[in-house]
């Protein structure tokens, strides 16, 4: 599964994307965030305030409790500030 990071998340983690292979026990985006945080201290720190992290699953913006199922791409990003 491909993970994308944007804005200050991308800068803090020093990468815009990576490929990960979470275990089958990881069923929702929230669980994916927990799992990523256990693997990487920088992610754990960046994900500390969960409500500041928005997510998109296969290019659709979704909530953290959304099941991952067979998602190809999951994106993590801060609250949006366009316009």
């Amino acid at each position: 599964m491909k993970i994308l990071y944007f804005a200050w998340l991308r800068e803090r983690l020093n990468r815009g994307e990576e490929t990960v292979f979470p275990p089958a026990s990881v069923k929702t985006i929230a669980e994916l965030m927990d799992w990523l945080a256990t693997k990487d201290e920088a992610i754990a720190l960046a994900f500390e305030k969960r409500d500041l992290i928005k997510t998109a699953l296969d290019e659709t913006i979704v909530e953290h409790d959304t099941p991952i199922k067979n998602a190809k791409t999951i994106a993590f990003f801060p609250p949006m500030t366009g316009g």
């Binding site: 200050w8 290019e59 366009g82």
Partner: protein
């Protein structure tokens, strides 16, 4: 009924875009143009603004907001232009244009699109100033402004 959504790094001419939008339409009685500009507050000046975006989602979200505005307010046409990349103070960032039979629909349609664009379209602003770089924080006020359409 038609929508146009354009994401581009190049600067655009707000007046030329407005003129191009104002093509003859027999039912049209009102057009609204909103242009968002790069602000540099004299007390806290910036040298440039850089917009990062998530292209497919930004395009899809803006198309959805424009389509919802057309359905909700009975617009004849809606166009959204949004830039990404580096831009300078006073340059245009975004332009929203609506065409409708009457003014209220045109005003409200443009506000509706902008309110959702601010909080739900994946763009992020980074300011560069003489003292460094800073990601702009989202404003809680933008979330509450959007609630008026619920």
């Amino acid at each position: 009924m038609s929508i146009t959504v354009r994401l581009q790094s190049d600067i655009f001419d707000p007046g030329a875009e407005t003129n191009a939008f104002l093509t003859a339409h027999t039912k049209a009685g009102a057009a609204v143009t909103f242009t968002g500009l790069v602000r540099s507050d004299p007390t806290n000046p910036i040298t440039s603004l850089t917009l990062e975006h998530y292209p497919p989602v930004a395009q899809a979200q803006l198309e959805e907001f424009a389509n919802r505005a057309i359905a909700r307010f009975g617009l004849l046409k809606a166009t959204v232009i949004h830039r990404y990349g580096k831009m300078l103070p006073n340059e245009p960032i975004v332009q929203v244009m609506t065409l409708a039979p009457h003014r209220n629909a045109a005003f409200e349609g443009a506000q509706f699109i902008m309110d959702f664009l601010k909080t739900d379209a994946p763009f992020w602003k980074k300011e560069t100033s003489p003292t460094g770089e800073n990601w702009v924080d989202a404003k809680i006020q933008d979330d509450t402004t959007k609630l008026r359409w619920e």
